[in-house]
Amino acid sequence: MSHLLNLIEALGAHVNRLLARLGLFARFSWSVLSVIGICIARFTLLVREIYFSGVRSLAIITVSGLFVGMVLAVQGYEVLQRFGSAESLGSLVALSLVRELGPVVAALLFAGRASSAVTAEIGLMRATEQLAAMDMMAINPLARIIAPRFMAAVVSMPILAVIFSSAGVIGAYLIGVQLIGIDDGAFWSQMQASVDFRIDVLNGLFKSLIFGIAVGLISVFEGYHAAPTAEGVSSATTRTVVTSSLSVLMLDFVLTVWMFRGLN
């Protein structure tokens, strides 16, 4: 009997911890969002963070996009040519990239490449008490350290997603048209007939903006609240990647259902 009670107690403690962390996250997010104005006013800080988060992720995003597009072209062609509609390859690749793969895979790569680094950096600042020292010097670490890193993710993510999608379309073009030999004109015209700028491209950009906000907030939150030990920083980095990836995938489902509910 007492064994069962212990079990229920453990469950309750777990749920309470989860709720407390969620509340902490909400309050932290609010305080980050309220200093964004200061962050934008100090533009050079933001530019520096965009360089480290966004520009340095360019290589991995471009190469991954190219390969994802090439794989889509090979696999898509395999299925489509059975139905004698290999020309639809363009629209298949472009729609899947622009609507889903571009924003989602770019966000997952960004979480692994840049957000983990941001968490580790902030976590180490916390561990070596640099954040506390700043507070002592009357510099708000939220405005000076946290907000620029968050904004860098928000700004970089849509750009990276667009670059990922473009690289993917080019990769599909290289494989589909240059290698397999689908007609050039049919490839592009089928693509243009099915991809709508407002419904597909702008919705994809909006998605990646939401992902940027989510991933950015999670990475700075985990770093800021990391336990000030080596182990704490490492587990915070792990949590950033896991939580960001999961929330990107879940948000993607919710956004997709919401955006494309009225179509077809």
């Binding site: 050079t44 530019v47 520096r48 965009i50 360089y51 966004g54 520009v55 360019l58 139905f83 509609s85 472009a94 622009v98 970089s156 849509p158 750009i159 990276l160 667009v162 670059i163 999608s165 473009s166 379309v169 592009w188 693509m191 243009q192 007939a193 991809v195 709508d196 700028f197 597909d200 491209v201 950009l205 077809n264």
Partner: protein, 157 residues
Amino acid sequence: MNRSKFDLAVGLFVALGMIGVAFMALRVGNLASFDSGAGYRLEARFDNIGGLKVRAPVKSAGVVVGRIEGIHLDRESYEAVVEMRIYPQYRFTNDTIASILTSGLLGEQYLSLEVGGDPSYLTDGQRIPKTQSAMVLEKLIGQFLYNKASESAGSSK
């Protein structure tokens, strides 16, 4: 690395993003050919529109001359009302026939306009009087079976 180098790299990064959006808009998407503001509106009524959808192309002789803007059911006559926007450079005669066709065996459905010989042209908001509904495969098969059955019934007498 000094400040101007950061600025240069981020500037290039943002410019690359803009090029990507332009590529999406012009090469991948159909922003260049689809500007919903321009052109004039026409309306056509059908008994059955099959699988025609909003944003489907309106074609004449195979050339895209407009897009479907709205589809709804008339509440009195129970006809499907299809609203379309035609690009301003094209004009169609009063006796134009609108029919719903399919591009290829499995392709999407589109609205086809065939021009007649009438000297006057349709203007904004007017209705295309002559229409031909979409072919529904089940009805065609049903009709075919019915004809076959009545044929064999006639021959057995």
